[in-house]
Structure formats: C-alpha cells, structure tokens
C-alpha cells in the first residue's frame, strides 16, 4: 500500500544521503562513526516508539519530553540523595506511569483533544516537578561514577552499546505491540475511525490509557539514557522544544500519519535513519544546529507535500478543519 511505499522511499532517501555523506564527508564512513550515530539516535528512537503509538491512535503527546525530564529528575534526585538504584528506578517508574495515566485519562475520559491536554500537562509537569522536586532548580547532575549510570552510558551487550541494544529492544516491543496484539489492532482501529471503534465495542478508553502510558515509559527509558550519558538532567530540554519537534518529525517522516491509523515500526526506523544520517553528516560538516534545523524543517515540509500528493485527503469525508 502507499503507506508502506513511503517508508521505502524515506529509507532510500536516507541511504542516498548516507552514500553522499560517505563519499564527500570525511570521517562519515567509519565504523566508529556508525556506532556513534547509532548511540546518538538511541534516545530519539525510543521516544519515537512511544510517540508513534500515540499518534497512530490519532493522538499526540506534547508532554513526552516533560515526562522524560520529570521522571529522570526523580531518579537523579533519589540517586544523589543516597537511595539505591532499585528504589530510585521504582519511584521513577511509578512517576512515569502515573503521568501517562493522567494524560490518557484526560484524553480518554474527559475527551479533551490530545494536543491541548498534553500541552497543558507538559506545562504542569515541567513547572510542577521543578517546583516540587527541585525547589526551582533547572538542573540535576548525576553521579557519573555510579556503576548503574556508567553501565548505561558506556556498557555493551555483545559488543553493541547498551543504549543501542535498548533502542532495538524497544523497537521490537513496539513492533510486536502494534502488529501482534489486540491492543495494537485497537490502536489502528481507533486511529482509523474512533467512532466506529467505539461502536464495535473495542475498549477504546483503556487502549488510550495504554498508549499514553507506553509513551511515558519510553520517555522514562530515553530519559535514563540521556541523563546517564550527558551526566545531567536539564529542564531546558523541555522549554526550548526542539527535541519534542524532532521526535514528531521522525515519526511523521516515516509515514505515521497525524490523522492516525497509518504507519508501523518500519516507519520509525525509516524516520530515525533519515534524521540521524542528516544530523550526523551535517554535524561532521560543521553546520550549526540552526542550519541543521533549517534543512530538517525543509525535509519535513517536502515529506508532507509528497505524502499529501500520494495520499490526498478526501474532501467528501472531511468535516471540520483536519489538523
């Protein structure tokens, strides 16, 4: 179907970009760089998995980065406060699940549009966790010498960096969740037509909760990886918003439609691949982050236009403004 061919198109584009960079950019085509690229895009991949599931239900989670930062803040504070890793992890896990439940609850039971609900919770979570946990601080520094953190940031499984292994695992889990489970089928059904899904007796509300909790869990895992490797949790990651938009961009580029019901784990892989290659290549070319933003933004626009050309919306079925 056309959805699938978008993925292959993006993959082909990414490959083409990789080839071009390999030929023209010094240092791109090295084993070390590939490993680097994979490591740098691990957290993005993990976040995209959660976001993709939410978007396929025809939702959006603008609070994902806020959850990520809040959960890893809780983890970091407990760790520096002298609690053990298991306790800190448990608390962070409970916090992430609760935040996911709140999001899902607002969307499923109050029927607030997800865009607005998660915009609001993002503010609430960011401000609230800084206020309540950090007493207003912007930053939590993690003890790099803690063995758990050292393991996450530089450990390896079978020669693969741990973060990359985790990303692959999450991709696999997402793939299974979406294609092999009842939850997955419900997710697609909801994205396709929520009214029909509800009327045919699918547990729409429960699955919405699951989707947002899943997004929150990916946020927690990505947060642990980011915090461990950079040694800090920084609240400006939320306020300046670039990471959030990058996640949405990855998901959408690969062919997961914001109108729901379309896309798969392949889309995430394709999207991440393209973004990671472009980012890495441009960084190697010493392009500034802003110039990279320009290129990525234009890539996104091009992708939207192409997607729209290939899957035009049916003017007979649209009612109110379709975002």
């Amino acid at each position: 179907m056309s959805g699938r061919s978008i993925e292959s198109l993006v993959l082909a584009l990414a490959l083409a970009a990789a080839v071009i960079f390999a030929v023209f950019v010094n240092g791109f085509a090295s084993w070390q760089n590939v490993s680097n690229l994979a490591q740098n895009s691990a957290s993005l991949t993990i976040l995209s998995c959660g976001m993709a599931v939410v978007i396929i239900t025809r939702g959006l989670d603008l609070s994902q980065i806020a959850v990520m930062v809040a959960a890893s803040t809780a983890f970091g504070i407990l760790l520096t406060g002298g609690y053990g890793v298991p306790a800190a992890l448990a608390v962070a896990l409970v916090a992430a699940v609760m935040l996911g439940v709140v999001n899902g609850w607002l969307v499923a039971y109050f029927e607030i549009p997800s865009l607005l609900a998660t915009l609001a919770t993002a503010m609430l979570i960011t401000g609230g966790s800084r206020w309540a946990i950090l007493q207003g601080e912007f930053l939590v520094l993690l003890p790099k010498d803690n063995p758990f953190i050292a393991e996450i940031s530089s450990g390896r499984i079978l020669g693969v960096p741990l973060s990359v292994a985790v990303a692959v695992a999450i991709l696999a889990v997402t793939g299974i969740l979406l294609s092999q489970t009842i939850v997955g089928r419900t997710v697609y059904a909801m994205g396709d037509n929520i009214g029909a899904a509800r009327l045919s007796g699918l547990p729409v509300r429960a699955v919405t909760l699951v989707a947002y909790v899943f997004a929150a869990l990916t946020a927690l895992i990505a947060g642990l990886i980011v915090a461990s490797s950079s040694g800090a949790v920084d609240f400006r990651t939320v306020t300046n918003g670039t990471l959030l938009f990058e996640v949405i961009m990855v998901v959408v580029l690969g062919g997961v439609s914001l109108r729901g019901g379309r896309g798969s784990v392949l889309s995430i892989i394709a999207g991440v691949f393209l973004i990671a290659v472009l980012r890495n290549g441009m960084t190697l070319m010493n392009l500034s982050t802003q110039a990279q933003g320009l290129v990525l933004g234009m890539t996104l626009i091009t992708a939207i236009v192409i997607d729209n050309y290939r899957n035009p919306r049916d003017p007979e079925t649209e009612t109110q403004g379709d975002l």
Binding site: F110, A117, I125, G127, G128, L300, Y309, G321, D322
Partner: protein
C-alpha cells in the same frame, strides 16, 4: 338575545392575580444553560476574579503607569493571538507564529538599523515579511491541502533555523547601531491619549476583526469553512482561496506584531518568539474554552488571553518563580479544559433535566354539570356530518367569511379554503411556513392568523401573507430572552381594531405544548398588536397557557381561556391593565378556543377531559420531577385528550349545554368551533376533517363577521 346584565356581572367578578415573575431555581439554571453567552461568561468571571485578587493583594498594581506598561507588552502578543484566532477559526492551527514573529522582528531591525530605511517603509515591509510566511503556510495547507499542524510545524522549524542563521550575521551589528527616529520611537515607546500607541493599533485591529467576523463576507466564509469544510464547499465557498487568504492575513498580523516588538525592544535574541505559539494557544483555549473551529469570538479570546497574561505578569511580579508560574499555568489550562469538556458533554443532559420545572397547582374542583355531564345524554357530536374528510391535516381553528367560505390551517403550514355551499373542494389559500392556529377576520375582511413559531400574520383577500408582528418587549424579570413570540395561539379583534392574541407558552414548542401543561407554571402571556401604531405590547404576562381569545358581544370585554387552569378569565378592554377577572372556573376538561354564539353566549372547545389522578399530581411538583426523571415521556401522566367536546355558556358564563364527542369518533380532541347560519363547524388539531353540526334553536341568519363588523 344578549342579556344586558351580563357585562356588569363580568366586571364585578373576583380579580385574579398574576405573578410579576416566575421565581424558580430550576428555571434560572435551565435559562442560564440555554444562553449562548454563558460559555463566554466563564473566562469573563475568571478574569474578574483574577483582577479582584490582584487588587486586594497588591498595593498599586493597577496604577496608571503600570497599566500603561502592561498594555504596551500586551499589545503585540495580542496581535499574534488574533492571528492564531483567525487560523483556528478556519479550522487550522499555526505553530509557526513564533518563528514568523522572530523573523519579522529581525527584518524590522535589519531594515531600520542597517539598511536605514525610514520607519514608514519598514512597517509595510515587516508586514509583508509576515504575510510571505503566511503565504507559504497558506499554500501548504490551503492549496496543497496538507494538515495544518504538521505543515506549520515544518515551517516553524525551518523559519526558526532561517532566523537564527540570519540573526547571527547581523545581530551584533544591529546591537551596535544607535540610529534613532521619532516615528520609530512613536510606535515602540510613545503614548497617545494616555495609552501606548501600540495599544491603539492593537485595539483597531481587534475591532476590524470583530466587524469582519460579524459583517463581512470574508469573515463569514472563514467561519463557514471552519465550522464545516464540506458543507462550505458544497455551498460554493472558495475554500482554498479563503484558507490561503486567512493564513496570509494571520501572517501579516504577526508581521505587524514583530514590527511593534522591534520598535520597542530594539533588540532580538536567538530565542525571540520561542514558545510564543503555546503561550498564545493557552490564552486562546482559556478564552474560547477549548479548541473551537468556526468561532471567531474576538472578545472572548482576548479576555482569555488577558487572563493568562495578567496572571503570568502578576505572579512573577509578586516574586513567584518561573517554575511555580509555569505549573500554575498548566494547572489552570488543565482545569479549564476539563471543566469545559465536561460542561460541553453534560450541558444538554443537565438542561434536559433542569428544563421541566413543575410547580404546585391546585385546580378548582370540577363544576356540577348535572344532566350535562358526559355519559348522561347522547354524544351529540357523533351526529355531525363530515367535511373534507382525509383532505386536510390538523385544522386547529376553523373560520367562515361573510360568503360562508370556510378557512382552516393545516399541519404543513398551509391555510386551506373550502368554498360554500358544499365544502367539497379544498384549495390552498396561502402558505405560511409555520403552524397556523387561531384565526379572525378584521373590519376589512382580511384574515388575521396566529402562526405558532412565527407570530401574528395577516392575509389579503388574494392570500398574500404579511407579517404584523413577531416580537414583543422583553420582560426584565426573565433571564431568557423572551422577545420572540414563540407560540401565538389564538386572537380576536376589538372594535377599535386592536388585535389581542395569546402567546401560549414561552418555554415549549407546538410539539411539546402538553409538557407545559404538566409543568403547571404561568409561562404564557396575552399580547396586543395595534395596527394603528404597529406596536406590540404585552398586556398581561405570566398566564397559565392562555389559549382561546374572544371579544365579548358588547365589545367591552376580552375572554381568555387558560387551558392549564381549566378556566376562562375576562379582561376589561377599557382598563386592560387592571388584569384578569374570573369568568368561568372548574371546567370539566381542558378548554381550547372560545368563540361567540348567536344567542349572546359563547362556545368553548374542550380538547380533553380532566382526571382526578392528574389533578392530584398537579399539586405535587416533586412527583412530576421524579416522573420526568425516571419514566420515559410516553408513559408520563397526561391530560386525557381522547375525549372532549364543546360547551355552550351564556353571556355571564353559565354552562347551558354540552356536546360531547363519542369515544369512537369520528371527531375527537375538538380545539375550535364556529357557529355560522345555524350550524356549528368543528375543528380538531389532530383531525383530518371538519365537522358540521346543525344546531336546533340557533339564529339561522347569524354569522360571526356580521356580529363583529355589521354591514
């Protein structure tokens, strides 16, 4: 024939009291829920509470100088808010406003400080810059049909990158420029009639947008496209063009805002405008109570934004830190959205539950009828001959003109004429579009009709329809706007030409009138239309389902039927403001129309009969509330509308004769009757025929037109 003592006896009957207002908690709740402005009132109330709190907790936060400062910083962001309102109204969203804003700030600064253009050139170029970004958004969303959220996310990232790259080259140079210009400073810094000039610009734009949404074709097109794109397209609205232009207009507004910021701050940083889209969106959501396409409520949006803006500023000013401010913003946003969504979902349910508002009502006991009581004699209406059976649908009233032609209204809104003498041929006399009920002929033999849902109308001899009135003055004791005449029921015309007519209920429709009966509240009113002045006045408000209206034979009194109270009251036409007097009480059934009889008495149609169970239930409102809540409407206690008949009373209201219909028909639920040349013509609102009953002992020459307007 007419007894001379009757009028005096009418004039000395007991006065009836009508309440000045209906006081009921349920009524207030349901009326409030019914008002459209109640949604807009929520942000309003929030705003005033906030202002009150700030007033009481600070010393001089609202000092003139601080107000001046606040409005200065409010104005340019408010312009961005209006831009967002535009695109949200069309069913889109614009995430790129922040980047666009930054770009326009930079363009203004660059053109002013480095190119050194005069200010009056910088301004249009800045607006042009914004409009260009808007154009790209518009092409993506409007022409190419991409989703607005994604497309503007793309332009947001792209233009942010562009802005930062451009600003790196020029910001340092800009920051070292010392060019000053009075016009530039005027926009950014100076006051004009005590307020910042930028505030006046914003206010002007807001007014223009308000007028645009209200009065211009373009504004209506925006709302149409936002409300339902498919419907708008089918209605011939050039959707793509409207969307494109809306985004361009929004971009231009952002450009203007950027110019104002540049003139004020003379500076930009790489984070100028970051997060602006979400800040503005927050204000919009608080003002509109959610994300509502197809609504261009400029005022509400601004109030919502003012709330957010003020809260933000006041909290920080009071020394609260950024994290706390952010958390409280998030909390408020969640609360507003949750309350609003709950309200939207529950409103109709709540309204339906609160709407039926029963009151205790003790009816006068049924009068002694003696031999006239139903079942005592023959059911005289069974003897009626039928006219036009199956050819007319639902004649509520029937009337005959001087020539004896018969007129009646039908359910589909037509007024039919049946020609004398055999009444076999049914022809459409006029099409009204409403539900024609009571009728009367005026002095010039024109038919005047009460049309439920429309008002009072007059038909010419050729059947051309002309509206006399559809509104009366608003009563100030009611929350509900009751200007519109909701259910004009019956009328009669006084000798001086004034038309008196009843508006049976202000709260229910033609289809649900029986529920008004169940409510037992004085929801109706008596109105008067004076053809000489063209004015409509409320003669007497708060009557219990006023129905039939008849001017007495001597032309000095007005008889008005109250269906709910099973009574007839009278008004003195010379002192109509004195209110009603008792005329007949304790009727055995629910009276509908009342008309003159040839002997100086009156005919009263009984649409249904009273039952002791319902009479008792009327005394207990709680029972009826429970019933309405627990039992489906088809099983509610109702008036017995299966049998009824016609009563004949004398000039002073004594019942003299009764014509009951037979349970097996063919006529049932008689709502009106007219005497004409010794025969009684009978109509029922649910009948498909008209009955004709020959009267014994009636004046065979008497006609109603002649009785009213003798020639």
């Amino acid at each position: 024939m007419s007894s001379t003592d009757a009028p005096t006896s009418i004039s000395t009957r007991a006065r009836l009291k009508t309440p000045l207002a209906v006081v009921s908690f349920r009524r207030v709740v349901s009326d409030l829920l019914n008002r459209n402005w109640i949604e807009g009132a929520i942000p309003f109330i929030a705003f005033f509470i906030l202002v009150a709190v700030v007033l009481t907790t600070t010393d001089d936060y609202f000092s003139l100088s601080n107000l001046n400062t606040l409005t200065r910083y409010f104005s340019d962001v408010a312009l961005v808010l209006l831009a967002m309102l535009l695109v949200v109204a069309i069913g889109g969203i614009d995430l790129s406003v922040g980047s666009n804003y930054a770009l326009c700030v930079l363009a203004s600064l660059y053109l002013f400080h480095i190119v050194e253009l005069p200010t009056f050139l910088v301004l249009p170029l800045a607006i042009l810059c914004g409009a260009a970004v808007g154009l790209i958004n518009g092409i993506l969303t409007g022409v190419l049909g991409c989703g607005a959220l994604l497309a503007t996310l793309g332009t947001m990232i792209t233009f942010r990158g562009l802005f930062v790259i451009c600003s790196q080259a020029s910001l340092v140079e800009i920051s070292t420029s010392f060019r000053a210009d009075p016009v530039w400073d005027f926009f950014g810094f100076d006051d004009f009639f005590g307020m910042p000039f930028s505030f006046w610009i914003f206010a002007a734009v807001a007014v223009v947008l308000y007028l645009m949404f209200r009065h211009s074709r373009f504004g209506w097109h925006i709302l149409a496209v936002g409300g339902n794109r498919k419907a708008a397209r089918h209605a011939g609205v050039p959707i793509n063009r409207v969307i494109l232009l809306t985004y361009v207009a929004a971009g231009a507004l952002v450009g203007f805002a950027g110019f104002l910021y540049a003139a004020r701050e003379n500076s930009a940083g790489s984070d100028t405008g970051v997060g602006l889209e979400f800040f503005v969106l927050t204000g919009l959501v608080v003002g509109l109570g959610g994300f509502v396409p197809g609504r261009g409520s400029v005022f509400n949006a601004l109030i919502g934004f003012a709330t957010i803006f003020l809260l933000n500023n006041a909290l920080r000013n009071a020394g609260f830190r950024g994290d706390f401010v952010q958390a409280s913003m998030g909390f408020i946003l969640v609360a507003v959205l949750a309350i609003d969504m709950k309200y939207r979902k529950e409103r109709h349910r709540l309204l339906a539950r609160a709407y039926l508002d029963p009151a205790p009502l003790a009816l006068a006991p049924v009068m002694e009828l003696g031999d006239l009581a139903p079942g005592k004699g023959a059911n005289k209406l069974a003897e009626a001959t039928l006219i036009a059976a199956g050819k007319i649908d639902g004649p509520e009233d029937v009337i005959l003109d001087r020539e004896g032609h018969l007129y009646c209204g039908t359910r589909d809104g037509r007024i039919m004429r049946l020609r004398a003498p055999d009444y076999t041929e049914v022809e459409t006399f006029a099409k009204t579009g409403g539900r024609p009920l009571g009728m009367a002929f005026d002095a010039e033999d024109r038919l005047v009709v009460c049309i439920a849902g429309m008002g009072l109308y007059r038909l010419s001899g050729a059947g051309e329809i002309e509206r006399l009135t559809s509104q009366t003055a608003r009563s100030w004791t009611s929350l509900e706007d009751d200007r519109a005449i909701r259910m004009a029921d019956d009328l009669d015309i006084a000798p001086d030409g004034r038309i008196f007519f009843s508006d049976a209920t202000k709260r229910y429709e033609m289809e649900t009138w029986a529920v008004d009966l169940l409510e037992g509240r004085p929801n109706g009113r008596l109105l008067c239309y004076d053809p000489k002045t063209g004015a409509t006045t409320t003669v007497c408000d708060h009557l219990h389902f006023p129905n039939g209206v008849c001017v007495s034979h001597d032309g000095r009194h007005l008889l008005v039927v109250s269906t709910t109270l099973c009574s007839v009251m009278s008004f003195d036409l010379d002192r109509i403001e004195d209110g009603p007097r008792e005329f007949i009480t304790g009727l055995p059934g629910y009276p509908d129309n009342i008309n003159r009889a040839s002997d100086g008495g009156y005919w009263i149609a009984l649409a249904g009969m009273r039952s002791p169970a319902l009479d008792l239930a009327m005394q207990d409102p709680a029972l009826r509330v429970r019933m309405a809540k627990r039992v489906p409407p088809t099983n509610w206690l109702f008036a017995n509308l299966n049998v009824g008949g016609v009563l004949k009373c004398s000039a002073n209201g004594t019942i003299e004769d009764a014509y009951w219909d037979a349970p097996e028909g063919p006529l049932y639920m008689i709502t009106s009757m007219r005497e004409h040349r010794g025969a009684l013509f009978l109509a029922g609102v649910l009948n498909d025929k008209i009955g004709r009953l020959a009267l014994t002992g009636a004046d065979p020459a008497w006609t109603a037109p002649n009785s009213y307007w003798p020639r």
